[in-house]
Symmetry: C2
Subunit: 202 residues, 2 copies
């Protein structure tokens, strides 16, 4: 009867252990042994809850995407209009403030890299990216419409912004020298605001 909640908790514990181990050693060197040690569990128990390391990684993609969604919803709770909701999204994704999780960003970069190599990871990453792009297009369309602007470029703008976000995570992690501290969220917000201001009317 009490099996399920305990099982969920164990799985979350294992997923977190993969994330921590990946941040330190990368995905390839994150063995089941290392993950188990980090989780304080036996390797056998890991195999009971997950078929393979790739399975744990898929659960991690879902957990990170879910946490990003929750962070946005928390930030957007007090938003009064579409512009503020868009700002909340940008801050939730790129800001250094409350709930920002450097370990989660590092793990996300590793997942993006693994998506290039492993079809299974790519499918999960794609799903997360497509979900984000759809949400961002919706937020941008609403902001454009609220300013009486054409929404014709909403999809292209959403794609550019999401690319900037993914690229920022990649560069901040792998080649941070040219990235001023905390530049990303204010710069993205300004780029979008100025783009919207200069769009033609609907």
């Amino acid at each position: 009867m009490s099996r399920k909640p305990n099982s969920e908790q164990r799985r979350a514990q294992i997923v977190q252990a993969l994330m921590d181990t990946m941040a330190e050693h990368g995905y390839e060197k994150a063995t089941i042994q290392l993950i188990a040690r980090r989780a304080g569990l036996t390797p056998g128990l890991l195999h009971y809850h997950f078929h393979s390391k790739a399975d744990i990684l898929l659960a991690l993609v879902k957990a990170l995407a879910g946490a990003a969604q929750q962070r946005y919803q928390a930030f957007a709770q007090d938003a009064q209009d579409d512009g503020q909701r868009l700002g909340a999204y940008i801050d939730a994704r790129l800001g250094l403030g409350e709930g920002a999780d450097a370990g989660a960003v590092a793990a996300w970069v590793v997942i993006g890299a693994e998506a290039v190599r492993q079809p299974e990871v790519r499918a999960a990453y794609r799903h997360a990216i497509d979900t984000e792009t759809a949400l961002l297009r919706e937020l941008l369309s609403a902001s454009l419409a609220a300013h009486g602007k054409s929404t014709a470029n909403a999809q292209a703008l959403a794609a550019a912004l999401l690319a900037m976000m993914e690229g920022t995570f990649q560069l901040a992690s792998v080649a941070p020298a040219g990235m001023p501290a905390g530049f990303a969220a204010p710069m993205a917000a300004q780029l979008v605001r100025r783009f919207i201001d200069a769009e033609p009317p609907a």
Copy 2:
């Protein structure tokens, strides 16, 4: 006497073979055997010219960065002012036109992914990124100054634009569903133009 040019040619042939093999199989599965077959050479000859597969990859990073630089210089040849030079840079990096090389972009994404995992690749990738950021900051500063604008945000804008470029390559390669065809260069150019227009005076 004629050893050196021949050697350069062989090395270029091997580097190109790694790029083609990686585009098809990824880096990990690009064995020396496969690369040699693609180059029409013996594995022994590959080992004569390069110590390891990682060495060939480093040569590829340099070749791709060099080709991107050359493409920019060709595009910028007829530029009349700083704004046109900036536009030439964006088109050279993101445009689908003359000299655009889908294989080179696919290889660059694999290199970005390998940079997350392998310190040697990361060092070469970093060097290429730092060089691009410096060039882009210079182009942006010149454009801002030519419009009588403050250059205080040039570094942050260069970082955001480079992140957008790297992210676009990553997403177009791994999660292309939300990326409208050919959106990137015109959207990046518009975002930058509108940002510069709205900057405060120097």
